[in-house]
């Protein structure tokens, strides 16, 4: 591309930016007197958000008619960030005044002091809800939320495929199996997730958690349910390795007679698809009795945040009143009617359903009937810890690796491990003594250094240099060193919020001793460390090998299409890695992935990639090699151009073969230039969290986790054990620091490149 073309591109780009900037700034409004403004957060997808926003508009209009100036700022938060964001934002006044979330979080929110109680409702308000739904939001003796909508899984039946068949029980569906073509299924059902499979456990009389928050899925009934699920997958009544997206696509494209999904599926179905929504089928147990499949019901509720949002307007009193009124309006008859009509919410308000506009919404009514028959998700704070261990147990059984009873016993053990009480409070005395003595020793040695005349002279001589670095030094200390030091400090604490307490080195002891369990079991620190080292070595070796090979090929003097190759080969670098990692995960799907489709062309049997450590690890490595080789290639390409050409000429005169030239000239000359990049690449790979998290997600059974993904799990999915995760981070830091000291080129005193450059 010529300079001129680049200049034009630049001008066009910058004018677009400027145009955008001006539209943005002019639309900023100004604050007004007497106005109350509050913030409402939700994590709905697009169509459900429309219903909520329509109801909020109606609320604002009502208030305006009453002469009050009320503004509600509605914000959609990405679901993945929702819970951690509420936890971080509310205590510092940066959160919402009102937020929507599932009822089963109520106990955690109360204990973390994130929500405010409602106080008593008016009798007619309370009478508008099912008593069980309202009761699920009571914790202690107070009411902490009001129910908006009830969601549960239903059965979508494709009427064209089902024809006139009777499909009342699971067994009817199993009988369908032989009539369907290859690649089609009687039921698309995400059976390997704890949430979607709950109905199976319920049908056998099993429960996930008991009244005291103990693991309850370890009885014979649970094992029988799991054994039945294994049959459903092995006879291909239900696809294996399912996901929400797969369920949707199978049903949409007519490759599943029925789908087990929630109300969120309906808006995505094409209008020409003839389907009906029914409650889940019944199931015939081994003793011949029939039982209903009762899925979990989630009651989406509206909560009042315990702290006011700083960005809101109006007095605290006004805003509290307005927040409560907004919440009751959204949950009440009028708000519910609007949400149901505009957003397809399966609203809890009874009187809303009397509206004629909802009379012919048969699908919506079917959702409501199914939700009423469902099993409200237990609200005990430990319920959220059931999912991870049970997911793992189900997957192991469905893959045929383990017997149901053994897998559930393992899940029970894992659950106990993740819900263990935090280490005891320790007297911080010793910690303070150690910390202060380290500080005193550091100060003393600094003073001693400064008292030496040659050091002082050195300082004086250094003054001009300091003028160049001070601002960067300050920036790095404030932005990098300080947060890391505080983060490292939290590794000596456990608990959360007001329960936060000093525990000394207990977190480290727990990690290094595998919390008293088997030191060499899957998931223990030492095993994960070994996996991480293997991961780093394999990846870096592949990056360097492929990078050098490609760079050598690309630097051949007469190569056609050189630029095209080069541009195409750096493409993996340009697409965000969380997108391509998901694409890779899809490619490794057993039944529908492209990798098995390619292998099929060569006559290879389909491989269950995430069922074995070796193949799951290989899938992770393939993804990460793909992501990382362009960097090494580009570094090598640059380094190759700095090798003097006369060396090769001389070698050719001496009759050296190309291989000898490579071994005797190229490699030794590349070495010093590549070593720092290799060391940096090793550090990055060691801490490469995205790929492991998104591709194998630790499967099978957590065996492909690396240290940093393990730290993330403790920080975010295993009950926010921040201190424990921080201890992992400090250990990772220590390992890398020690290792890189002994690797050439990795430390600050890296061998300088020859002055030849």
């Amino acid at each position: 591309m010529s300079l001129r073309a680049r200049a034009i591109l630049l001008v066009v780009l910058s004018s677009v930016c400027l145009a955008l900037a001006s539209t943005w700034t002019t639309s900023l409004g100004a604050a007004q007197d007497g106005r109350v403004s509050i913030f409402l957060w939700h994590a709905y997808g697009e169509s459900e958000a429309r219903g909520l926003e329509a109801a909020v508009d109606a609320f604002e209009a009502n208030e305006a008619r009453a002469g009050r100036d009320v503004h509600v700022e509605v914000t959609a938060i990405p679901f993945g960030a929702y819970a951690s964001k509420l936890q971080a934002a509310i205590p510092v006044g940066n959160g919402p005044d009102v937020f929507v979330d599932a009822h089963d979080r109520v106990a955690s929110y109360v204990e973390e002091h994130l929500v405010r109680g409602y106080g008593p409702l008016e009798p007619e308000q309370a009478a508008d809800f099912e008593p069980t739904q309202l009761e699920s939001l009571v914790y202690g003796s107070d009411l902490w939320g009001v129910p908006l909508s009830a969601k549960g899984l239903v059965l979508y039946v494709n009427l064209d495929l089902a024809a006139a068949r009777s499909l009342e029980t699971l067994e009817d569906f199993e009988a369908l199996r032989d009539e369907l073509p290859e690649g089609s299924f009687p039921i698309a059902w995400e059976l390997d997730s704890t949430y979607a499979s709950a109905a199976m456990f319920h049908a056998y009389g099993a429960q996930h958690i008991d009244a005291h928050g103990g693991f309850a899925l370890d009885d014979a009934a649970s094992a029988a349910a799991l054994a039945r699920m294994r049959v459903l997958v092995s006879d291909e009544t239900v696809p294996s390795e399912s996901s929400g997206d797969l369920v949707r696509n199978l049903f949409r494209s007519g490759r599943a007679v029925a789908a087990v999904s929630g109300p969120w599926l309906a808006p995505d179905l094409p209008p020409e698809l003839r389907y009906e929504v029914r409650p889940l089928p019944r199931l015939r147990r081994d003793d011949g009795t029939e039982a209903a499949l009762q899925p979990f019901a989630t009651i989406e509720s509206v909560f009042l945040a315990s702290h006011d949002s700083e960005a809101g307007e109006g007095t605290s009193e006004d805003r509290h009143r307005m927040a409560r009124e907004l919440a009751l309006f959204l949950a009440g008859p009028e708000g519910s009617r609007i949400r149901a009509i505009e957003g397809g919410h399966v609203v809890c308000s009874r009187s809303a359903w009397a509206d004629p506009a909802l009379a012919d919404r048969t699908t919506l009514r079917a959702f409501r009937d199914a939700a009423a028959a469902a099993w409200p998700m237990p609200t005990h704070p430990h319920m959220s810890r059931v999912f991870g261990p049970v997911d793992r147990a189900i997957r192991k059984v469905l893959r045929g690796e383990m017997e149901p009873a053994a897998a559930l016993a393992e899940a029970s053990h894992r659950f106990a491990d993740e819900t263990r009480p935090p280490p005891d409070r320790r007297d911080p005395m010793w910690g303070i003594v150690v910390l202060s003595s380290v500080l005193v020793i550091a100060m003393l040695s600094l003073v001693r250094q400064l008292s030496r005349p040659e050091v002082r002279e050195g300082l004086v001589r250094s003054m001009p240099a300091y003028a160049w670095v001070t601002h960067a030094l300050l920036a790095v200390i404030v932005l990098v060193v300080f947060p890391l030091a505080v983060g490292a400090g939290t590794s000596f604490f456990a608990g959360q919020g007001s329960d936060l307490h000093y525990v000394g080195v207990a977190n480290y002891v727990d990690i290094l001793t595998a919390r008293g369990g088997d030191l060499f079991a899957t998931g223990s620190f030492w095993v994960v460390l070994a996996v991480t080292v293997l991961w780093t070595v394999v990846n870096v070796a592949s990056h360097v090998g492929i990078g050098i090979a490609l760079a050598l090929a690309l630097s051949r003097p007469v190569l056609k299409l050189k630029t095209a190759y080069r541009v195409l080969l750096i493409l993996p670098w340009a697409v965000p890695s969380y997108v391509t990692a998901l694409a890779w995960r899809g490619m490794f799907h057993r039944q529908l992935g492209a990798v098995n489709a390619i292998l099929d062309v060569f006559g290879v049997e389909p491989i269950s990639w995430f069922a074995h450590f070796a193949t799951a690890f290989a899938a992770n490595v393939a993804t990460n090699v793909w992501l990382g080789f362009p960097f090494m290639m580009v570094v090598t390409l640059g380094a190759l151009t700095s090798i003097p050409k006369d060396l090769y000429e001389a070698a050719e005169v001496d009759g050296a073969s190309p291989w000898e030239q490579f071994r005797l000239i190229t490699l030794p000359m590349l070495g010093p230039a590549l070593l720092p990049a290799v060391a940096m690449g090793a550090v990055w790979t060691f801490n490469m969290f995205n790929v492991v998290f998104l591709v194998s997600a630790g499967e099978p059974d957590g065996s492909t986790e690396i240290l940093v993904s393990e730290a993330y799990r403790w920080a975010f999915t295993r009950g926010h054990q921040t201190g424990y995760a921080a201890a992992y981070a400090v250990l990772i830091f220590g390992i890398l620091l020690v290792t890189t000291r002994y690797l050439p080129g990795a430390t600050g005193g890296a061998p300088r490149r020859g002055k030849a450059a």
């Binding site: 960030a81 951690s84 404030v478 541009v567 997108v579 391509t580």
Partner: protein
Amino acid sequence: MSAREDTARQPRGSAIRGALVHAFLIAAVVFAVYPILWVIALAFSESVVPEARALPLPTNVSLDHFVAVIGRTDGEGRWMFARQLWSSAFVSIMTSVVAIAIATPAAYALSRFEFVGKDASVKSLLATQMFPGVAASVPLYLLLDAIGLLDTLSGLVLVYATSAVPFALFQLRGAFDAIPKELEEAAMVDGATRFGAFVRVALPAARPALAITALFAFMSAWNEFALAATFLTREEHYTLPILLQSYATEHDANLGHFAAGAILVSVPVMALFYVLQRQLIHGLTSGGVKG
């Protein structure tokens, strides 16, 4: 060093060897492009028929996903894509400006001057890169809250600077190391100050490395999701990767929208790569990712 290696070594290699090289490169290109073709196929497919296929071809080609992603408005009818594009552009450009502005003089000093504490600072700086970010996000959150920069684009720029500044320092120190000191010394003999020599001699010579360092800072901010989702709250401040993630909600992921969004997000980076490809090769190595 000039990049014109073409004249120096005329090959006598056989046609077979040339063909092998092309075969190898084509295989590598297929490996590099294949997953991206799947993303593209997904983005242009109106609906996905789930069946195992080896060829990444779209089914029922349509632009619906792009229209939906670009045309997205919020409850008050504001055009979200344009706002979020602006947020992304602002944050990414400012991140590279801030990183370059802070790191360049310091990197120059690290390359040219000897001073007390230099080795220790370089080593500590390198050490910070080994600390997994998971431990620092909560303290950073509290820090930004304390200075009132939570939920602002400037605050997010600061967060991104935490990784962009150390990287830029290493990158640029290497670049300055590779520039002969003699050039600046000559300028100073002619009466230029140290600063004058830095601005008029060292900076122009380091231009490729500066361009690449800026590109890296830009890219890391442009593609980042997790920190942006934590530190930004208001939808009009969101960056494009957050918009992307909002297509993957609790029970369900709209992968078509997701893929279309991914392509839209990638196009500017690809364009920059294309424009800067020569600098990419020389800028990266003249610096070397020198530890």
